[in-house]
């Protein structure tokens, strides 16, 4: 609550600190709701204005981060709808269609085999990959491209968890989804990104 108090008191240092902590994450998350980078930047500005206006009434029942990202996602959603972008975020509430098995079923032995359900084409270890290759710009582009192709609710959850480093609780609170839902969306998202990386690295 130290930053909240300071911000209420008009401290620019507190504002700068909050911007440093959350600004870039806010921009990335906003971009998942609206068409363009420019509009995402406007969403971030609108959010901060709403935060400054509302900070006197912030009671600290949720964390500042949760409160901030709720304002952000609501602002971004409204903006996205106004743009006529009807993103099926209803998926957050439950039934984004199941996209099947995590791994191509052909990579496992069939029911007629001696060990059904065991790998016939096991994945190979990436431990031998040099770190420079794994973390090279091109590899990062493959990961970003895979995330961009995900259904929006999955993209949102993996972005918040794995890119921006939110905890599971923080994502559930900010997006108002259940733990189970969060986990299912995260699982599908990570599974697809892993597959894209495997295709690229092999």
């Amino acid at each position: 609550m130290r930053l909240v108090e300071a911000l209420r008191g008009g401290s620019e240092a507190a504002f700068r600190e909050l911007m440093r902590m959350y600004g870039a994450s806010m921009l990335r998350v906003a971009q998942l709701y609206v068409r363009s980078r420019a509009v995402a930047e406007e969403v971030v500005q609108e959010t901060w204005l709403a935060v400054l206006k509302g900070i006197v009434r912030f009671e600290g029942r949720s964390s500042l981060k949760t409160w901030l990202f709720r304002i952000l996602t609501n602002t971004a959603k409204t903006r996205g709808e106004r743009e006529g972008r009807t993103v099926p975020f209803s998926a957050l509430a439950g039934a984004e269609q199941d996209d099947g098995a995590s791994v191509d079923p052909d990579r496992f032995l069939g029911p007629e085999e001696r060990f059904p359900g065991h790998w016939s084409a096991p994945p190979s270890s990436w431990a031998g990959e040099p770190e420079e290759r794994l973390l090279a710009g091109e590899t990062l582009e493959v990961v970003q491209a895979a995330i961009d192709k995900l259904p929006p609710a999955q993209a949102l959850v993996i972005t918040m968890r794995d890119i921006e480093g939110f905890s599971a609780d923080e994502v559930c609170n900010a997006l108002e989804i259940s733990e189970t839902n969060q986990r299912v969306l995260l699982h599908r998202a990570r599974t697809r990104v892993r597959r894209a990386l495997e295709d690229y690295l092999s």
Binding site: G23, A24, G117, W119, P123, T191
Partner: protein
């Protein structure tokens, strides 16, 4: 998901996130780890999943574009000095 005795690889890959999130019931977690101990393919799969998470984390950018930061500061100053 309830599992009977032994876990297959096809079942294990569906449980990887639950495992990493530490949300598996204890018995399933034990089966998961037992399976891993003797299955190189699944060990590699889990390691790939962990690497995927690390690589995704590298996409993070910590800084806002400077023009946006400047605009936000201006808005802040407008708010704090009525």
């Amino acid at each position: 998901m309830r599992l009977d005795r032994e876990l297959t690889c096809a079942q294990l890959v569906e449980l990887v996130t639950d495992y990493l999130e530490q949300s598996l019931p204890v018995r399933d977690m034990e089966r998961f780890e037992e399976h891993l101990a003797f299955c190189g393919g699944c060990a590699a799969y889990l390691e790939q999943m962990r690497t995927t998470i690390v690589v995704a984390g590298r996409l993070r950018e910590r800084d806002l574009p400077p023009e946006l930061e400047e605009q936000l500061l201006e808005a802040f100053r407008g708010w704090s000095t009525p």
